[in-house]
């Protein structure tokens, strides 16, 4: 638009006698056309389903085209449903361990691969590699590795005389196994984001710190950590949302929500209600509740960190 305003006499618009407003209009149309496919996709595949989910939450849906208005019935049922409350507790426990764990591991890896050493590019690629594999494949491979007694992990531990637990057949170990596999799968992606954040920090800061005699911890504490806050905020927000709403395929293949519901996270419970029991209305209500939780979490995070700036001084 600036170019149009500053266009000298003799430009094409002047020659054709068209007003700059006409060009603005054409550019606006072009911009809308470029945006339209994306907007349409978002509307059809995200906007409408979200509204539909919210609306369905007020109905009893039999899964065969039958809808009955029940108002807040599904929401009342939710808080009297011990399995829903159990899945909510399990999800909270899962997130409380997963998010800090994923954060620390990803940051540590980013700090590691920021260093210059031979084959660093290969190491970065290998760490990111799980992300390019289907989560179903990841789950299958881990399932074979974690199988009791005959899985490779049990065989290796057995070689050293260790009697391993049943990784996927004991409730607390199953949840721990899901956590480990999730971190293993996701760490490469968040490592890359941290790496981008680290590379935005000017090298001069580190050089000056080194001249001043700062050690690695002091450098991290006073330079890296403060300047990485916006990236940390982004990772905290996106990882919580994606870990709470994703990973269904992993759970489906790895544990089927078991043993004894120990890995039935809320997302798996929604899937069960909708597609195993045909309770689409109830599943939608839980989905809407999940959105509310995530909105509250996001708003709280924004408020606590001042939109990721943490303080007025951090611009």
């Amino acid at each position: 638009m600036t170019a149009v305003a500053q266009a000298p006499a003799g430009t094409s618009s002047a020659r054709t006698g068209r007003r700059p407003a006409s060009r603005r209009r054409r550019e606006t149309v072009a911009a809308m056309l470029f945006l339209a496919p994306d907007m349409l996709g978002l509307l059809v595949f995200l906007g409408i389903p979200m509204v539909a989910c919210l609306v369905l939450g007020f109905f009893q849906v039999d899964g065969f085209g039958g809808y009955q208005w029940i108002g807040l019935g599904n929401y009342e049922r939710m808080f009297a449903d011990p399995l829903f409350l159990h899945s909510l507790r399990t999800t909270l426990l899962y997130l409380v361990i997963l998010i800090p764990g994923l954060f620390v591991v990803s940051l540590a890896l980013a700090l590691l691969v920021r260093q210059r050493f031979p084959l660093v590019g290969l190491v970065r690629s290998m760490l990111f590699a799980p992300n390019v594999v289907s989560l179903v494949v990841v789950a299958l491979v881990w399932k074979f590795m974690l199988t009791d007694q005959i899985g490779v992990i049990d065989r290796v531990l057995g070689f050293f005389g260790v009697t391993p637990p049943s990784w996927l057949g004991t409730p607390h170990w199953a949840l721990a196994s899901v956590l480990v596999v999730t971190i293993w799968f996701a760490m490469g992606y968040y490592m890359l984001i941290f790496l981008a954040g680290l590379q935005d920090i000017p090298r001069e800061y580190y050089e000056v710190a080194k001249l001043d005699g700062a050690g690695p911890w002091q450098t991290f504490r006073h330079i890296t950590w403060p300047l990485l806050k916006p990236t940390s905020f982004f990772i905290l927000l996106t990882s919580t949302v994606s870990m709470m709403t994703g990973g269904l395929d992993l759970l489906y293949v790895l544990t089927s929500g078991g043993p004894a519901n120990s890995t039935t996270l809320i997302i798996y419970y929604i899937y069960q209600q909708a597609f195993v029991y045909g309770e689409f209305g109830y599943a939608s209500a839980i989905g809407a509740f999940l959105v509310v939780i995530l909105l509250i979490w996001s708003a709280a995070l924004f408020a606590l960190t001042r939109g990721g700036r943490f303080s007025d001084g951090d611009k």
């Binding site: 907007m39 509307l43 906007g47 974690l146 199988t147 004894a260 597609f275 029991y277 045909g278």
Partner: protein, 442 residues
């Protein structure tokens, strides 16, 4: 500018609102002269799999036979597993297939929703009587037929002869006939560091299916005979829950099934000494490793109990909301439910050649026996000893299934008290049955 925005927004909105209608309208507006048949055999997605190749060919031949003689054609559509998301989603969008395969566990849900076509008008009385009743019960509502079973799949204990011989089990008389003997054998295998006896441990409909016969053996039932009350808080159920608990606590069975829960493969690869699985494994052995030495014994019984097994198997159903329910119903009966020799032969071929199952019709079972389909020692044992002790797979609604599933999982994998779990599940079942309306729960 404002005008453009309004027009653009209007166009975009119209497109967005119209798109779902267009998407959901795709299926139903198709050719009414062609009906879709969702199944998990054909067209064969994996021609390299010899087991699937034989089964896929049976489906293709059957459909080709119908299509030659009828104006309305049938189109086979392969779907991975029926009874799971794909079918549920299709029906939720009113885009269910015209014909599909159904397991007994799902029948009541589909019947209660009015999705299943009553096949009775298309069947002769002679043909209805030809279907084996213990197995047929869960496909009937009153005296009306809503599904035609294509096979009967009893469960039994499969075992590796090599492993059993290595612990001194050399003849049929050494095989366990009681729960105590089975647990004793499991402990012996464990002591001698041999592969274990495997029972299903993954939560889901299949685990419930495999667990029911242990409950029935002791006289237990999930639901009372009239289908109105819970019968789960019973000695039979408590004992069966305790059996699964004991198999884990005594280290006899693994908490996670080996070989991705493929019983035949686990035995062939030496990951299991015995495996509680179904007759379908016979076809797996036949196609993958015909020389592998394996045997079968009937599920052992508790003290004072009676031999029982569960009869699984899939059935043909016609969608009452499909494009042409009448033709779909006619196809089902023509294929496997008429008294014509072709129809009977088709069932014989499916159960003795393409697969290894018990034929669900008396005429087909007789013919299959005459043709040598059950001459094999294993198949004879299934037909003569195990199948007669069978009861059709129950058709419990999801709430009943889930209450039982949670009780099994809690006892088996967390060591919970079987009596308490039976009481808890029983209360949940009773609470549900109070307001239940629909087909009789069996």
């Amino acid at each position: 500018m404002a005008g453009i925005r309004r027009r653009s927004l209007f166009a975009a909105g119209a497109a967005a609102l119209g798109a779902p209608a267009l998407l959901t309208g795709c299926g139903k507006s198709g050719n009414a002269k062609e009906l879709t048949f969702w199944n998990f055999y054909a067209p064969n997605p994996n021609p390299g799999d010899p087991t699937l190749a034989a089964q896929s060919k049976w489906f293709e031949d059957m459909v080709a036979g119908w299509n030659r003689e009828n104006e309305t054609k049938i189109r086979l559509q392969y779907v991975t597993i029926l009874g799971t998301p794909k079918l549920a989603t299709a029906f939720a969008a009113d885009e269910g297939p015209d014909i599909f395969l159904i397991s007994p566990g799902d029948i009541l849900r589909y019947y209660n929703a009015g999705v299943l076509t009553d096949l009775t008008p298309y069947l002769t009385k002679e043909a209805i009587d030809d279907f084996s009743r213990p197995n047929m019960d869960t496909r009937l509502v009153g005296d009306r037929v809503y599904a035609l079973p294509m096979e009967i799949e009893p469960l039994a204990m499969f075992y590796s002869k090599r492993v059993m011989e290595s612990v001194g089990v050399t003849g049929d008389s050494d095989l366990p006939t009681t729960w105590d003997e089975m647990l004793g054998l499991g402990e012996k295998l464990k002591r001698e560091k041999k592969p274990p006896i495997v029972f299903c441990a993954a939560p889901g409909y299949y685990q419930n299916f495999t667990w029911y016969p242990w409950m029935w053996q002791g006289g237990g039932n999930a639901v009372s005979a009239d289908g109105r009350h819970s019968g789960f808080d019973s000695k039979g159920a408590v004992d069966a829950l305790n059996l699964y608990k004991q198999t884990i606590q005594r280290g006899i069975a693994p908490r996670v099934e080996p070989a991705n829960a493929d019983g035949a493969l686990a035995l062939m690869q030496g990951y299991a000494a015995a495996y509680h699985t179904g007759i379908w494994s016979v076809a797996e052995f036949r196609h993958r490793k015909p020389d592998f030495p394996y045997g079968v014994f009937a599920p052992p019984t508790p003290p004072g109990g009676t031999p029982k097994t569960v009869l699984g198997g899939w059935a043909f159903v016609a969608n009452a909301r499909g494009r042409d329910p009448e033709t779909a119903a006619k196809f089902c009966t023509w294929a496997i439910g008429s008294m014509s020799q072709d129809s009977i032969d088709r069932v014989v071929d499916w159960c003795t050649k393409a697969k290894a199952d018990i034929a669900p019709r008396k005429s087909a079972l007789d013919k299959g026996t005459r043709d040598g389909g059950y001459d094999n020692e294993i198949m004879r044992k299934f037909k003569d000893e195990i199948f007669p002790t069978g009861r059709g797979e129950p058709r419990y609604p999801p709430v009943v299934y889930k209450a039982i599933s949670d009780a099994i999982q809690a006892c088996q994998l967390t060591g919970a008290d079987p009596r308490q779990q039976a009481e808890l599940a029983s209360k949940q079942i009773d609470a549900y049955l109070k307001s239940y309306e629909g087909g009789r729960i069996l």
